[in-house]
């Protein structure tokens, strides 16, 4: 399996609090992605990165920000969590554009 670690694996927090999810890779892949997965919607891209300090928005980026200060780490931040952001969040990596993505095992986030 590709070396991808997501942390935390589970988190429960309250509306209005900031939350940061971490994705760490040991593959030295250039591209990193954050998705959310919800019933009836499938996987939807939140943000992605194509290099250190290079990021771009995905399909559902409102309410989320990201940072990538090192090749191996990609952080997803919810500045002020809302209940609609309750979801399972997946990080993925790939070494080239349009190539297979390798996914972490997800973070289950509940916002009460």
């Amino acid at each position: 399996d590709a070396g991808i670690t997501q942390s935390p694996r589970h988190k429960v927090t309250e509306t209005g609090t900031p939350v940061t999810l971490r994705c760490h890779q040991t593959e030295n892949h250039r591209y990193m992605y954050w998705y959310r997965q919800d019933p009836g919607h499938g996987l939807r891209l939140i943000h992605y990165s194509y290099g250190v300090k290079d990021t771009d928005k995905g399909e559902v980026s409102d309410g989320y920000s990201v940072s990538r200060s090192k090749t191996e780490d990609f952080l997803l931040t919810l500045e002020s969590a809302t209940s609609s952001q309750t979801s399972v969040y997946f990080c993925a990596i790939s070494d080239r554009v349009s190539q297979p993505q390798h996914f972490g095992d997800g973070t289950r986030l509940s916002i009460l």
Binding site: I4, Y31, Y48, D56, F90, D105
Partner: protein, 113 residues
């Protein structure tokens, strides 16, 4: 709007039979199409990639077809086994959007012993 549709219902088949899953899309011109497997509580795992100029791709018991005229991909698992039970996702690399992949909602497959 852009849309990807997979078999809306769960698919149950008998062990040893061939499972066929569909992925239909509208308003895309994908250069690539990928299939992933997802088990409960786990992230998706890549299975196969097919390019727009390829009609068919095979890997062991798996076969994928890609018809850009029909805007459809079919995913076949031959000689299915209970261990093949999982949710299968198709994903499109929408041409012109760089690295962005769009995923279908998935089809849940159960192989009955």
């Amino acid at each position: 709007s852009q849309k990807i549709e997979q078999n809306s219902e769960a698919l149950n088949i008998q062990e040893g039979k061939t499972a066929t899953l569909t992925c239909n899309y509208t308003n895309y011109s994908p250069a690539y199409l990928q299939w992933y497997r997802q088990d409960p509580g786990r992230g998706p795992v890549f299975l196969l990639l097919i390019r727009e100029n390829e009609k068919e791709k095979r890997k062991e018991r798996l076969k994928v077809t890609f018809d850009t005229t029909l805007k459809q991909s079919l995913f076949h698992i031959t000689a299915s086994q209970p261990a093949d039970s999982a949710t299968y996702l198709c994903a499109l690399d929408a041409l012109g959007t760089g690295n962005q992949f769009y995923f279908g909602t998935g089809t849940s497959l159960t192989v009955i012993p």
